[in-house]
């Protein structure tokens, strides 16, 4: 998918103008959060301790990632997998196409995978003449609509049932129905045919287990199980930070992942897949290709953003983010939305493309509070803002504005003088405490909401009269 993060403000305009979208997103995020909170309350044991342990495990694994990756590759190959390595998206696409060609694949079924979205797998395979069908219901819907996902775990949250009904009628020639169970049944029937005839199943991986070279995948629909059981070839596309050292590391991570994502104590299905079918096995693919994608991760590992690679893609930070709740996923302009996307996208795409994303946060900190692996998202957003400034991705006006702000805030006398002038203006002009209109570029603010007028009595005055001292006058 071509990134459109540089169009952020235009994307936001569009999202804000779409009432349906906002209703859908606030309903979805609200419900996810409710379920998550209930699941946290009923967590077996100490949830905070579990978060801390998971965070430590992920960080410690990243610190030794070369060792764990090498072990994963060895163990997977020992059990019959071919492990391919892609440095970047282009190489990943190229390798996938070669795998499909070599295996003689005409039809592939896919289960949900963010890594494949990131590398643009579908387009590449389609261009090479391979039909690729998404099998997660949400992904299937947006594939028919020709749209990217708008949420990590609920990719079609922005679609209403009427839109889905129209889509199935137009694109599949099915009789129009707005009944959700019937729509699900249509997808089930259509996709069952695909599962049974596809030569290759493509999946992502929630975790790669170094100890045994295994892949762990969660799903609720059973599509991931179908795609990894029925076709004769299985291709896994996963980024390198998904490795965990041991089988026994899986359950504690799963307990956090599914609760943080949908509030379920466990997803309906968890598959742990190891190698290819053995002699005597009656099912399972006879070929397994695992494509490990770096695409900038080894560079992230190097520096101050390493903690971002702890992310297990649960989506909790999206649901709780007031910005995501307002603009939805598409506005972020690429595959990763919400707070995690605002950090990850600039790291993977560069600040030239995505420098606007770290600004789209009030730094309220809610994301860090819910993150099951304790990623300090607000800190990372701040770091990125500083980097954007250092790399010159800021307009002269912004830089000047910030310099001016710093100059005023650093000098109590000037601040006080300005407060006094502001107070007089407020008394004369903005008696209701609101400024309804500002000139020039500042109208961007007042077009949609009022700007608060300066207080007639500045806070510091009030403070003085009530409590007497300011800390620096003590």
């Amino acid at each position: 998918m071509e990134p459109r993060c540089h169009d952020f403000s235009r994307n936001v305009e569009r999202a804000l103008a779409n009432r349906n979208l906002q209703a859908a997103i606030s309903r979805t995020t609200g419900r996810f959060l409710e379920h998550r909170n209930a699941a946290v309350r009923s967590f077996p044991g100490d949830f905070e301790a579990a978060r801390e342990a998971a965070s430590r495990l992920k960080l410690a694994t990243l610190r030794d990632l070369d060792i764990h990756l090498a072990r994963f590759i060895d163990e997977a190959e020992r059990r019959g997998a071919a492990v391919h390595i892609a440095r970047d998206s282009a190489e990943a696409r190229d390798i996938s196409v070669r795998i499909a060609r070599e295996e003689g694949i005409g039809l592939a079924v896919k289960s949900k995978s963010m890594a494949t979205e990131e590398i643009g797998l579908n387009e590449a395979l389609e261009a090479a003449g391979v039909e690729v069908v998404e099998s997660d219901l949400g992904e299937y819907i947006i594939q028919l609509a020709g749209e990217p996902p708008s949420h990590l775990i609920a990719p079609a949250v922005h679609k209403t049932r009427e839109e889905v009904a129209r889509l199935f009628a137009d694109k599949l020639g099915e009789p129009y129905t707005e009944e959700i169970p019937e729509l699900v049944a249509i997808a089930r029937r259509r996709l069952r045919e695909k599962f049974l005839s596809a030569g290759m199943g493509i999946s992502g991986a929630n975790f790669l287990i170094a100890e045994t070279g295994s892949i762990a995948i969660v799903s609720n629909e059973a599509n991931a199980r179908m795609a990894t059981t029925l076709p004769r070839v299985h291709m896994v596309v996963a980024s390198i930070e998904k490795v965990i050292p041991l089988m026994s590391d899986l359950p504690p991570m799963l307990r956090l992942l599914t609760r943080s994502a949908t509030g379920q104590p466990i997803s309906s299905y968890v598959s742990v897949l190891t190698g290819v079918r053995r002699p005597g096995d009656v099912e399972g693919p006879s070929k397994l290709h695992i494509l490990l994608v770096d695409n900038g991760r080894s560079a992230i590992l190097k520096g101050k953003y390493r903690e971002m690679l702890k992310c297990i893609r649960c989506g909790a930070c999206l649901n709780i983010c007031p910005v995501y709740q307002t603009i939805g996923g598409h506005a972020y302009g690429w595959v990763y939305p919400g707070p995690m996307g605002s950090v990850l996208s600039p790291l993977l795409l560069g600040l030239r493309e995505a420098s606007a994303l770290p600004d789209a946060s009030s730094l309220c900190g809610a994301c860090a509070d819910v993150c099951p692996v304790k990623i300090p998202l607000p800190d990372l957003l701040l770091e990125l803002r500083a980097d954007a400034r250092a790399q010159g991705h800021r307009t002269p006006a912004e830089v000047l504005g910030m310099k001016g702000f710093a100059a005023i805030m650093g000098r109590a006398g000037i601040l006080e003088a300005l407060e006094r002038i502001g107070g007089v203006f407020s008394q004369l002009l903005f008696k209701d405490g609101k400024i309804p209109w500002l000139p020039f570029r500042l109208s961007g603010w007042t077009d949609r909401r009022d700007f608060p007028a300066p207080a007639v009595r500045p806070f510091r005055k009030v403070w003085k009269s009530k409590r007497g001292v300011l800390p620096w006058n003590r």
Partner: protein, 219 residues
């Protein structure tokens, strides 16, 4: 097909990005940690049943003949007309044989299910493990076992002998980690989706109902 891309290059790149190593590579396996206090089998069955019910699964328990009426009623209400039983699964076969005259149900074949236009089918299978913490049953592809009864059918009937109940997922993985089979499937309730307007709908791609039959079987 030969692996593509440069493996050593990746490991080198990652190694260079890390400034020295921590200690995870050689840390002790937490599997070795002490087990919790012993638990009665009744307590374990209760935990399993409660967890599975809250994941929209159904639980029936008792000896083979006492569970039949409820099970049969459950299958009929889902419109089931055929049963899929894996070859060599004697407990499943026994249950199917007892059910067939009551339905009436007939036996379905795998090929029928894999080639479209299949009847409404219940897949009956003995589980290899069951997990009390999460109400999960476990099937694997070990030694010729099939996963289809819990996958391509409309109703999944999982036979759970009390003896296979373990406390947590860790116990299952510990038993299998030395030589993991190609597939380990953890199944908790029916297949579900909330992808259209967040409305929970059962039977997305897999079974729309899941019934655990907790019973002591002859095998």
């Amino acid at each position: 097909m030969e692996p593509l891309g440069n493996r050593d290059d990746l490991i080198r790149r990652v190694h260079a990005a890390l400034h020295g190593h921590g200690e995870t590579a050689h840390r002790p396996d937490p599997r070795a940690s002490a087990p919790g206090p012993p638990e009665s089998i009744e307590k374990r069955i209760d935990r399993f049943s409660e967890a599975l019910r809250s994941a929209a699964g159904t639980v029936v328990a008792g000896n083979l003949y006492s569970v039949l009426p409820a099970l049969c009623e459950g299958l009929r209400s889902e419109g089931v007309t055929a049963l899929l039983v894996p070859e060599g699964d004697t407990a499943a076969r026994e249950l199917a044989d007892a059910l067939m005259p009551m339905g009436p149900f007939r036996l379905a074949s795998t090929s029928e299910l894999l080639h479209g236009n299949s009847p409404v089918t219940a897949g009956i299978q003995s589980s290899e493990f069951a997990i009390a913490e999460s109400g999960t049953v476990v099937s694997t592809g070990r030694s010729g076992r099939t996963l289809l009864p819990g996958l391509v059918t409309d109703v999944h009937v999982a036979i759970v002998r009390p003896g296979i109940l373990v406390d947590r997922m860790e116990d299952v993985l510990a038993a299998l980690a030395a030589d993991p089979p190609r597939t380990i499937s953890f199944i908790t309730g029916p297949s579900r989706t909330g992808d259209i307007e967040q409305t929970l709908t059962l039977g997305a791609h897999g079974p729309r109902a899941m019934i655990a039959v907790i019973t002591e079987t002859s095998t």
